[in-house]
């Protein structure tokens, strides 16, 4: 009898094994050896494991890598300990097949461009099927309302500016290992190139979060050309950078229907730029 069948609450290790389709042995328990092997060889699996074992706190690249080292130098039988089996933390929800619309730090920062644009996108994504407004909590969890969510095999849609390095790195890692597709509205290189207004570090932080995204939708052709320059720079990091296209937001005074069309276009046009 599995834990689920026994009626006991699922722990994060059970959820992880189910999501990774780790085989069960003849006693109905998941095979820790198989899970250990999977975690050692699959960075996405490690990302999910870390997100689950921390109660939904999304890991960074460095944490995913350190976990691989931890696993390589430990015995498979110790996996339960590594995974903190006895944790009483609530198991976060795993969202797959959804679009997580993320305003980033835009709500909290005064300099963010397009604050109105972000507000419009978030407002008009609400009624759309599969879309979920997701915001950071103070403890680096991604929250949909009051629920910690893990964007596993879902779509990340970053529509604001992420100015905090800890969040930016976690978002970038989620795009790399957790998400099916990662899309962002591109605002250009801001104050980075050609004179700074004291916001250069925040802007560089934001762009760091987007290095591993699949698609950037620039708000116009000038912004797209600006972002192409930024993408060119990423070769020094061994990163190809996202595809860059132009999707102009509706003009001021456009109807909610037009805004919905824009938001839908951000998601559905990705990969076709």
């Amino acid at each position: 009898m599995t834990r689920e069948e026994s009626g006991r609450p699922k722990r994060s290790l059970d959820v992880l094994c189910e999501r990774l389709e780790v085989p069960v042995d003849r006693w109905g328990s998941h095979e820790l050896g198989a899970l250990h092997e999977r975690l050692r060889s699959d960075a996405s699996a490690r990302w999910l494991a870390l997100a689950l074992r921390s109660g939904g706190r999304l890991p960074t690249d460095v944490e995913v890598r350190e976990y691989a080292r931890e696993l390589a130098l430990s015995d498979p039988s110790m996996l339960g300990n590594l995974f903190n089996q006895n944790s009483r933390k609530a198991v976060p929800r795993i969202y797959d097949g959804r679009v997580l619309v993320m305003p980033g730090s835009t709500d909290y920062s005064s300099f963010g461009p397009g604050g109105e644009l972000v507000r419009r996108i978030v407002e008009n994504s609400f009624p759309l099927e599969r879309m979920l407004d997701a915001r950071w909590s103070r403890d680096r969890r991604l929250m949909a309302g009051r629920t910690a969510v893990i964007p596993w095999r879902s779509t990340l849609l970053s529509v604001g500016i992420e100015t905090r390095i800890s969040r930016a790195l976690r978002l970038g890692t989620a795009a790399r290992f957790g998400a099916q597709t990662s899309i962002a509205v591109g605002y250009g290189t801001g104050p980075l190139v050609g004179g700074s207004s004291g916001a250069a570090a925040a802007w560089a932080t934001h762009l760091t979060s987007l290095q591993r995204f699949d698609q950037l939708w620039a708000t116009d052709a000038v912004v797209a050309a600006d972002l192409e320059g930024w993408r060119m720079m990423l070769a020094s990091l061994g990163v190809a950078g996202p595809a860059i296209g132009v999707l102009e937001p509706p003009a001021q005074g456009s109807s909610p229907l037009e805004w919905s069309g824009y938001v839908t276009g951000l998601v559905e046009s990705s990969g076709q730029a």
Partner: protein
């Protein structure tokens, strides 16, 4: 019309008035402007002559509308470089069409700036040709990365009669010739102090004149505004030696203040005529910066590159015997250098039973928690590891000579000096498979890995520890690599920037 004697907030000393008069006369002569009394002997250049000369020069500018002349007059008066708002005020006065109004304004704001940041008692030289700003390497004993590059090249630039090495003091100070100590620190690093460059002795201020100002370091923040205006208005061109763009692309690897400073530096870069990068990878980064800047309607700049050379920096005694094979890691301890990966890979290999000593040489940087944790861990396990923060140049060369191979799996570099240092010592290198590091590795003697993939690093280190044939092949590859020298590098950079000398240059 008689001009009143120059005055600032506080009265100028007689010495300062004489110096002002001489500075203005120097600019006057260069512009070919005639002023009665200009042929009098130096000691007679006083306030009246200064006033006449300044008025004559301002009359010339009001007629010609030449901002380069305007810039030079202001610099001669203030002994500082004007920032954008100062130039705008001066240009407004030019547009008003009153030479006396322009002269008054120049004195008012110029002498005030000079009292605060300049040296109003100093003389000036107009210097043409290639001027190299080596400020930080001249005033600081810091000697890593950029300073090593600057000093290695400046050794040869100092011998080139078409090149003048200069420095600047804080704020908007203009350039000046190097002192004897500074010249030694820049061009004769590690040599006895009695040898100095041939063009040293005067500490005159320097007005770049139909020149290329080559900037091989990232200048202090307070100097950017003045240098940017120099690029835009002085009639001189600026050339940049670009080392990397890590502060904007590798934000997680630097402090926020470093990114802010670099963004200001890019204001200067985007006003430059040419950028010569230390690697093709860095050239690509700066082409990206240019693309972004041009997309916003700014003018572009040319981008080229001259890779840093592979030259043995000191005599070495050849291979040094060690009881265990030595794996050497050189570089400051910070997350970007990825040295925790080397400690982890070493631990894996020690557990496999391989025998070797790991030596990590480098200063403590920032955010070293992961590195410290791994170092503690391998030390606690009794592994043969040492981690000196510095060995000095001689000690470092001996460390290279004792190494079986070196490991440099950095996550981002503008160049990667430890790779070429290792190769110069005939020692194979494991390094990263992209960017400047892959570029250097292409020439042979290296194994490349994805530095974010620990398994690749473990495999490469294992191979070089157990496969003597592989190691021998890499050593032979190193022997066939073309070598170049810092002398060649220094000359090549001058060749790259010389075509950007403005028309009318006399050298």
């Amino acid at each position: 019309m008689r001009r009143r004697a120059p005055s600032a907030g506080s009265p100028l000393s007689e010495r300062a008035i004489t110096a002002l008069s001489r500075r203005l006369d120097t600019v006057r002569a260069a512009l070919g402007e005639t002023v009665p009394g200009a042929d009098r002997k130096d000691s007679e250049h006083g306030a009246e002559f200064a006033a006449r000369t300044l008025l004559a020069l301002c009359s010339r500018v009001v007629t010609s509308l030449d901002t380069a002349d305007l810039w030079a007059i202001y610099v001669a008066v203030s002994t500082t470089y004007p920032d954008r708002s100062t130039m705008e005020r001066l240009e407004t006065a030019v547009a008003a069409g009153s030479p006396s109004g322009l002269a008054d304004l120049t004195l008012e704001i110029g002498l005030a700036a000079g009292e605060r940041f300049g040296d109003l008692a100093a003389d000036v030289q107009l210097v043409s040709g290639v001027i190299v700003d080596v400020t930080f390497s001249a005033i600081s004993d810091h000697n890593t990365g950029i300073q090593r590059v600057v000093r290695s090249a400046a050794r040869w630039w100092a011998l080139d009669p078409a090149v003048t090495l200069v420095a600047a003091d804080g704020g908007p100070s203009m350039h000046r010739m190097l002192t004897a100590d500074e010249a030694h620190r820049v061009s004769r690093w590690n040599e006895p102090a009695d040898v100095v460059g041939s063009r040293v002795g005067s500490t005159d201020l320097v007005i770049p004149w139909h020149a290329v100002l080559l900037i091989p370091e990232v200048p202090a923040l307070q100097r950017i505004a003045g240098l940017s205006e120099l690029a835009r208005h002085s009639g001189n061109n600026i050339a940049i030696v670009a080392h990397d763009a890590i502060p904007i692309t590798g934000r997680e690897y630097v402090a926020a203040a470093e990114t802010e400073r670099f963004a200001q530096y890019l204001e200067l870069v985007t006003a430059a005529a040419v950028v010569t990068a230390v690697s093709e990878s860095t050239a690509t980064e700066f082409r990206g910066i240019r693309e972004s800047s041009q997309a916003r309607g700014n003018p572009g700049f040319d981008v080229g590159f001259r890779r840093l050379p592979m030259e043995l920096a000191a005599d070495t005694s050849g291979s040094v015997e060690a009881p265990l094979p030595v794996v050497l890691v050189v570089g400051s301890r910070e997350p970007r250098k990825n040295q925790d990966a080397v400690l982890y890979a070493a631990e894996r290999l020690w557990r496999e039973g391989l025998q070797f000593k790991l030596v990590l040489v480098g200063a403590w940087g920032w955010s070293t928690g992961t590195f410290r944790s791994w170092l503690r861990r391998v030390r606690a396990a009794g592994r043969p590891v040492s981690a000196p923060h510095s060995l000095g140049d001689d000690g470092l060369w001996r460390a290279y000579d004792s190494a079986s191979f070196t490991v440099f799996p950095s996550l981002q570099e503008g160049f990667g000096l430890p790779i070429v240092e290792s190769l110069a010592h005939g020692v194979p290198v494991i390094t990263s498979d992209y960017g400047s590091m892959a570029e250097i590795a292409e020439g042979g003697g290296c194994l490349t890995i994805d530095p974010r993939d620990d398994e690749q690093l473990v495999t490469a280190m294992r191979s070089l520890l157990i496969d003597s044939d592989l190691r021998g092949r890499l050593v032979r590859e190193i022997a066939t690599r073309p070598r170049d020298s810092w002398e060649q590098y220094a000359a090549a950079v001058i060749d790259i920037v010389t075509p950007y000398l403005p028309l009318g240059t006399t050298e």
